[in-house]
Amino acid sequence: MGRYVFKRFIQMVLLFLVFFALSWIALQAIPGNSIEQQLRLNPNLPPEAITQALERRGLDKPPIEQFWIYTKDFFTGDLGVSWSRYPQPVSSLIAERLPRTVMLFSVALLFQYLVGFQAGKYLAWRRNKRGEMAITIAGVSLFTVFYPWFGLMMILLFAVKLGWVPTNGFIVESIWRDAPLSANRMMMTMFTSLMLVTAFIGLTVWASARLDRPSQRRMVKLGAWVAGIGAFFVYWLTNDNLVYAKDIAVHLVLPVSVLTMVGFAGVMLITRTSMLETMKEDFVLTARAKGLTEAMVRDRHAARTALLPVSTSLVLAVATVIDGGIITESIFGWPGMGQLLLASVVAEDIPVALAAFSFTGILALLGHFAADVLYGVLDPRIRVTSQG
């Protein structure tokens, strides 16, 4: 196992280096340096101001040298300074944007996969029955819907016509004007509390399997749920900052719903295909023969095995969050990593763009790696072969 991980790691590092270099070349190759253009197109700027601005960003050096300096800094942990928002450090830009992206997409992915997996299970279980086609067509339509358009239509409907949710943004100024903490801090607190509760319930339930009597197991599990959810509510309801958390939560509703709507169908279709394959397996028949209820057969046997490709796709989806966030974030006015990526590429702000590229690249690499590992965890058959 150790050797395998090591080999993978070396591969990942090499792949990343190539990726890094290629990204840089691609960004560098964009015709016209927009930073320089912007400066040059301003008749008020004397030439020396332009030269100076270029020098400060290191743009006066030949590209190869720029690349060398940039690479050296990058791998020693210095992401450099934004060109378009000079002299803001790239790392601070990312630190500002990342929590928002994490908040929005962690919740959205959670819903996407919950809804999608359940729907897919249902669909496979009802194969060739009424409703299957309707759900498939509805799902595919949502899956392939022109997303920016759909998002805007949803804003029009739920935010404008019905006024149920805010139209855009992630906070409301009137609530936050005197806020004692930043929105990012709040989001991280919300995110952490969610994670902690989930981890607590998960771990307790997992640990309860050790208990001997079934009744004890049930009690502990129930207790974990009650305690976890209870603690969550008690914590937030007694929290002085509840109003801020609520504001963020309200702003999350529409983007998360829309993301769920357009994303769940993909998961649903994966689950369905995978379930249909699994359902032909003999062990499903065995499970039925054992007298398990249909729900138990479906959830413990058919779906549990079908979970493999779904979990893999979840991990890989996490890896594409930033790229996928470009549209979502611009439609819902949610200034996260996606918008940063878009803006930096359009402005040819190479340090920021390259950092964002690298970030997605690393996420993708880790995602693929995690998918492999997860596959091994979920499918004991792989666990052995991957060691060999």
Partner: protein, 369 residues
């Protein structure tokens, strides 16, 4: 990685050729294709999802073909209906009374308040009856079945042009994707070793890229035309994810006895790849054509929507123009946004549905018991 697993069996058994050697090969192939087409068509027809997709595709194809016909037959005047320069400037006049208060406006088409008049840069006194030109966008009527855009250009004509663009782009991108992916996948599977490693690592590399951002980078390369985009998307997909899927399919074909048989018979490697491996990967490749079209249409629409493509007209551009002119969230000018958005959704969805329909035939694991 992908929902679709490689089928375990190929549609055309490899040993058919041996059995029917007295007939010319092409005739056998044609007959086999006819036969399998008929059989598959029957299967496909049973799956209503696929049929729905196909019907929508055909509808849009007709729409795309209709436009040049309308121009050629003179039903449509180029000066009015051309998507680039056409505009309908027949004057539409409405009489209106200038009122002091917006609340006094009875019929918004015939009366107008003073503020609006000021906004449009005309001078009039309260109580005047003046003639006002109705400006584009016009709602749908007899001449313009889907209305006009803010420049007075016909929406239906743009939609038709967009259909052609979408088909052209989608099919070109898909063809490139599948051609490359099939070749790469088969070669990587057959030769294995460093060839395999090289292509698969390359595929990994492409999968790491933030696609939309890369497309934005690509689109900033000068005169990035629609067919450039198509080929670019084709290359990305062909060397990327699709190659991986088709490789796993090719792997499962590679271990089939007839490949060994061909090898034992002294077949040259390339010949085995081209005449045995690739034909047996083809059914799945064809399936990926469908999915690639969906991807290409959506990508183009997103890029156009972001205003990053320098093209004449497309559905995404229609939405982009609507948005930049400020009509996007205006329900009263629905014809600017609904047809285009729906078209992208429908056509992309239709190819996907058709693909799913085919999937049920091609993928033996999904076949009904």
């Amino acid at each position: 990685m992908d929902t679709l697993q490689a089928p375990e069996e190929s549609e055309i058994p490899g040993d058919v050729e041996l059995r029917l050697q007295h007939e010319p090969l092409w005739r056998i192939r044609v007959r086999l294709m006819q036969k399998s087409f008929k059989a598959n068509w029957k299967l496909f027809k049973r799956n209503k999802v696929g049929v729905v997709g196909l019907v929508i595709i055909i509808m849009f194809a007709i729409l795309g073909i209709a436009q040049p016909i309308l121009f050629a037959t003179g039903v449509w005047d180029k000066r009015v209906y051309d998507v680039r320069t056409g505009n309908d400037n027949r004057e539409r006049i409405a009489e209106m009374t200038v009122v002091a208060n917006v609340d006094d406006v009875v019929d918004p088409n015939t009366q107008i308040d003073r503020r609006r008049l000021i906004a449009e840069g005309k001078n009039a006194e309260i109580g005047d009856v003046i003639q006002r030109e109705l400006k584009h966008p016009w709602p749908p009527d007899r001449n313009h079945l889907l209305g006009t855009d803010p420049n007075g250009s016909d929406i239906l004509s743009q939609l038709m042009f967009g259909a052609r663009a979408a088909f052209g782009l989608g099919l070109l991108a898909a063809t490139v994707t599948v051609f490359i992916a099939t070749t790469v996948g088969s070669v990587a599977a057959y030769f294995g070793g460093w060839v395999d490693s090289f292509f698969m690592r390359f595929a990994d590399l492409l999968l790491m890229l933030p696609i939309l951002a890369v497309l934005i980078v690509a689109s900033s390369f000068g005169r990035f035309k629609l067919w450039h985009l198509a080929i670019f998307l084709g290359l990305l997909g062909g060397f990327g994810g699709t190659a991986i899927v088709l490789k796993s399919q090719a792997l499962s074909v590679k271990v089939k006895p007839f490949i060994d048989a061909a090898r034992v018979a002294g077949g040259n490697n390339w010949r085995i790849v081209t005449s045995h491996l690739i034909p047996n990967v083809m059914p799945l490749s064809f399936l990926y054509v469908m999915f690639s079209v969906t991807g290409a249409i959506s990508s183009e629409a997103v890029l156009s929507f972001l205003g990053l493509l320098n093209i004449d007209m497309s559905w995404g551009l229609m939405i982009n123009k609507t948005q930049s002119a400020g009509y996007l969230l205006n329900p009263s000018t629905w014809w600017l946004i609904v047809p285009a958005g729906l078209a992208v959704t429908l056509l992309a969805g239709a190819f996907y549905l058709a693909g799913r329909g085919m999937d049920e035939i091609i993928n033996p694991r999904l076949r009904n018991r």
